[in-house]
Amino acid sequence: MDRKPTVWEEVAALLEGVSALPEDYEALQELARSLPPDTGSMLKGFVSPKFMKMSLAGLKIFAIAFNELVKKRAEGKKVVFRAFNFPPELLHAMDVAPMCTEAAGIVPMMAIGGDRFFDAAIEAGLPETLCSGHRPTVGMILDGRELQPDVIVNAGPGSCDANAKIHEYMAKTWGIPLLNLDAPYYHDERGLAYYQREFRRMVSRLEEIIGQKMDYDKLREVVENANRATELMLEIQEMKKAVPFPLPNLYGVMVQLMKYVWAGREETVTFFQIAHDTAKELVEKGEGAFPNQRVRSLWVYSGIYYDMEVWNWLEDVGVIFLQDHFGYFPEKLIDTSTIDTMLDGLGERCFNMPMTRQMKGAWDAPYGWAEDMIFLARELKADCAIFSGHLACRQAWGSYRLLKDKLKSELGIPSFRFEADILDRRITPISALKDKIEEFVSTIA
């Protein structure tokens, strides 16, 4: 190889040993020890020791996803970047190398470190207050460590200026076609119809650029997988109402990996099947996934991802991670009769992806942030709400106060917040966050 290996190749190589891991925490720890410290940390961070089967089902997907990307790229497939708030199912049905923009940078960052990638985007002239979600990706491309995408699907418009703008920036800077998906302000029939038309137009453009029309059989295969996974996921969602809570905290994080990166693939179904069976068994026995469950917390925006070991730590101090807003997927099954029903179904699914669903309109809109969070807090019997306070999030910070007041007045539950960058560990150290969490918990446990 003449050029520097891309981060995908590096990560794929590092995670090679993952697929062969037995369901044994010792074995995982040994593998982790043999890897560079950041990679080792990442592996341990995504694993709940008591739930090896579920954890490995999730972890393996990292390895598979990066390997596949590398392979497809080598085969000359077009690389399609799309933000997290977009259903990967669509792209898994096409002969492309799809990548979630954020994951493309964040996962390698976790695996191989590189705080300075956050800065590379700023060094190129982007504002330092811009959301760090995409900066590692942009930084890696600027550094030559990440391959430039061939097409960019922009799902940010309407729900997040920063997300939309950075995709526009990438497209413009590297001369890449930009396919915008404009989310309207209202989450109603008219809004959905508008969005589905946007979605269909985007698909047509994609077909043109890639030189490939959507194949019914392939799409159906992917959507059927997605439907099976959705069914299981929705049943698990019901089981989350149980006291004690029947899932490890990491489930709430893994579900996002499934939905943002690997939806529509067989391995996702496997993961949800395992998670489902695990939860079911515990619910039937009236047992919790971990002992000493003191506080059921609903994270109203996002979790903290710059130190993955925090999820198991929360269990140690008795805090249940019911879920966060980014792990909420109130979706319908998709009718697989025709390409049209499937594309419209995916359009509707896209419309309901986290952030698009909640943040494109008013804070108190039907199906908006406040309504969804209050619904979840009630359904999942939350004792408190936690706002991780991602510093660049304008929409969330701009309505947190209103949400906090509403949670208190309608459900009588307290809300706590941090100020942190959820991805960049250099802003608020994890020790400070842990102290704060312990403080919160002590006031209500």
């Binding site: 207050t129 200026d161 920063a162 800077t173 946007e198 304008r394 910070w397 309505s399």
Partner: protein, 380 residues
């Protein structure tokens, strides 16, 4: 008093004698944000449209409880502060657009208060320029018109819209003439004064403004041009209704002769079509006017506008300013900086806060250094 002085004064306060006398005569006033808000509709309803500003706000302690100091634009916070402290109580209504994440949350927080204007409306504007989007926008503008009619017991007829178009187009033509004067080697007006004139226009009855604008143009033509400047500048970036920022730049020797601002050229550069259905014409004009960075995929149009305006006014340097936390202009300016420099038009990135200029020293140093750089380039 000279017309220029009379108009300039209006930028100093939130309300003014014109507004007060309008109210005294029983007139209604509706405040609004954003160049995507079709003012003609409000005018045609016989209501005074008043652009929301942050003028006079010296602190944002109350607004900060809703819009965070560490995540939100100081302009949005200032507007909200004025709203929450009753300074906008004289309004009979407000209409916002979902211009950016900051302002739409300002609207949400205002709406959530116990005491709110009796008329509040949000016009959601698509973020892309498509046929479907234009249709959506037309529907929203129609809904707004109907809501306005219902709430204020007025009718907005095609006739009144046609009249509005003619009045607003007149303003636009006059302001374009004013901007044309600024392209001269010795402009008769500073950038700061120009901003005051523009701000005056969105703070008073439009008919009277047009009259005064015509008088202003006469008055100005008699002036001796300004020639003692060190460099010709253009301002591009985040919202600014505060002449103090422009004065700061001009005090350093950089005469501002052009802009691409929403209290500026982008506000009035495009005219309404005058033949055909007036509501359609207004809608089309507002949808397609020089795009704000919120319109994704429209960067090339914006860049072309900046480049052309810079060339026409013989600009030496472009000041790409952003209010801290402004993602839309922040990213846009990153692209502009590179493209402008490639065109041989030098650019300065300037991050600032909106409001009483606490960071005057910082801004002055940068602008001065930029001017020194420009002089160096010019003198070879």
């Amino acid at each position: 008093m000279k017309v220029s002085e009379e108009l300039s004064q209006l930028a100093e306060t939130l309300s003014n004698p014109f507004v007060e006398s309008w109210k005294k005569e029983g007139g209604k006033i509706v405040g609004y944000t954003c160049t995507y808000m079709p003012e003609e509709i409000i005018y045609a309803a016989g209501i005074l449209p008043l652009r929301l500003r942050g003028t006079g706000c010296v602190g944002t302690a109350i607004a900060d409880a809703y819009l965070s100091r560490i995540a939100h634009c100081s302009f949005a916070r200032s507007v909200l502060e004025l709203a929450l402290t009753g300074e906008y109580d004289f309004l009979d209504g407000v209409v916002f657009t979902n211009g950016c994440d900051h302002t739409r949350r300002a609207y949400d927080n205002w709406r959530a208060q116990e005491k709110t204007p009796s008329f509040m409306h949000m016009i959601p504007v698509p973020h892309v320029l498509t046929e479907d989007g234009l249709q959506w926008y037309r529907e929203e503008v129609t809904a707004f018109k109907e809501h306005l009619e219902e709430s204020f017991g007025v009718e907005v007829t095609d006739e009144s819209l046609t009249k509005a178009i003619s009045v607003y187009n007149e303003t636009r033509s006059l302001l374009k003439q004013l901007y044309e004067l600024r392209t001269r080697k010795s402009p008769p007006i500073t950038g700061a004064e120009t901003l005051k004139i523009v701000v005056a226009g969105v703070s008073m009855p439009r008919d009277r403004y047009n009259q005064m604008l015509k008088q202003l143009l006469d008055e100005i033509s008699g002036r001796e041009g300004i020639s003692d400047y060190r460099a010709r500048m253009m301002i591009v970036g985040s919202v600014n209704d505060d002449p103090a920022l422009v004065e700061l730049i001009e005090d350093t020797g950089g005469l501002v002769v052009a802009d691409s601002q929403c209290f500026g050229a982008r506000l009035f550069w495009d005219l309404d079509e005058e033949t055909g259905d007036p509501l359609n014409n207004i809608t089309a004009r507002y949808y397609h006017h020089i795009p704000c960075p919120r319109m994704y995929g429209e960067y090339p149009t914006r860049f072309d506008f900046v480049k052309d305006a810079a060339r026409k006014a013989d600009v030496d340097g472009v000041i790409l300013q952003t209010i801290k936390y402004c993602d839309l202009h922040g990213v846009d300016n990153a692209m502009l900086e590179k493209d402008l420099e490639e065109e041989g038009i030098f650019a300065l990135r300037l991050e600032r806060e909106y409001g009483p200029l606490a960071d005057m020293g910082r801004i002055r140093t940068r602008v001065q250094a930029f001017i020194e750089r420009l002089e160096g380039e010019r003198n070879g």
